[in-house]
């Protein structure tokens, strides 16, 4: 039960961070991506704030054998750069640059019921579902990639143990 309460709060804190940072305003995202025009560097600070915080935290967290709730760390295990990674990221970037929404902020904004957000979330969900249905490379790996810094205790941890 504790695991679910924490997960709920993590999701909640994540979306509050997205809202406060300006990620839920697509014009700010596009204002950052279009550095040729009237550049808005805000998103660089979002990224820096998030990455530095996460970087420092994970250095202390990943020396543990398990998480606080006793789960084995479920980290990505792949290190190779394959074409799917680059093509997928390029498709993602193109869509992101077209409207300024990525998955987290779009889901956070769903509650407003704005037509644009709903259209985007439905299309995004369909895109994700199609990928899974086509079994192109439907891995159960968490997002991201493995790191050479990953602790031997955590690197390649399997997805079996959990108390969630």
């Amino acid at each position: 039960m504790a695991a679910y309460i924490v997960l709920f709060l993590c999701g909640l804190m994540f979306s509050l961070g997205l809202g406060i940072s300006g990620m839920t305003q697509p014009e700010k995202v596009i204002g950052f991506l279009d550095f040729v025009g009237n550049w808005d560097p805000s998103l660089m600070l979002v990224l820096l704030g998030a990455v530095i915080t996460y970087f420092i935290a994970q250095r202390f967290i990943l020396v543990r054998e398990t998480s606080v709730l006793g789960d084995k760390f479920q980290l990505p295990t792949r290190m190779d750069i394959d074409p799917q990674l680059v093509v997928g990221a390029a498709m993602f970037g193109t869509g992101w640059g077209m409207v300024g929404f990525c998955p987290g902020p779009a889901l956070t904004s769903c509650i407003t019921g704005t037509t644009e957000v709903l259209e985007f979330v439905i299309a995004m969900s369909l895109g994700m579902y199609l990928f899974g249905a086509l079994h192109l490379r439907y891995s159960r790996e968490p997002d991201g990639g493995a790191s050479p810094l990953d602790h031997p205790n955590t690197a390649g941890a399997q997805t079996s143990a959990r108390s969630a």
């Binding site: 040729v36 990674l85 093509v87 644009e116 259209e119 990953d150």
Partner: protein, 143 residues
């Protein structure tokens, strides 16, 4: 640069990083939104509840924002329905194909110095910039 919001963006970014770190610290999981949400859409038995709970938290955050800071969820967009749908399909399919989005690769992956995530994030920032620049400067800012 008149739209620059350094303090709010930094504070929001730190909150995002803390949320991701808390998920690793307590739940041993990576806070990758597209992976968590995508796994719900192609559901596998016994692997859905934790995903649903996280997404419920995310949506509840949206509710809190809409009640207390509604301007944070307000925006203006000059995009046709067709463009929005194409963009949504690209974002959804691309995030799953590339095994991550701005959160999984951009925050958690770069935060662990994972080479795959660094390559993915550089790729989506470059392609996103090219797309935004082309739309703003060759199509007059609306498609």
């Amino acid at each position: 640069m008149e739209n620059f919001t350094p303090v709010a963006s930094l504070v929001g970014g730190v909150l995002i990083g803390l949320a991701g770190a808390a998920m690793l610290f307590f739940n041993a999981r990576i806070a990758g939104i597209s992976g968590i949400y995508g796994g719900l859409l192609n559901a596998k038995k016994g692997d859905t509840l934790w995903r649903a709970v996280f997404i419920a938290g995310l949506l509840s955050g949206g509710l809190i924002l809409s009640l207390f800071q509604p301007q944070m969820l307000e925006f203006e967009m000059n995009r046709t329905t067709g463009a929005i749908i194409v963009a949504g399909l690209l974002v959804g399919f691309g995030a799953r194909l590339g095994n991550g989005c701005t959160s999984g690769h951009g925050v958690c992956g770069i935060g662990r110095l994972a080479p795959r995530s660094i390559v993915a994030a550089i790729t989506f920032i470059i392609t996103g910039s090219i797309t935004a620049i082309v739309i703003n400067h060759f199509f007059g800012g609306s498609i």
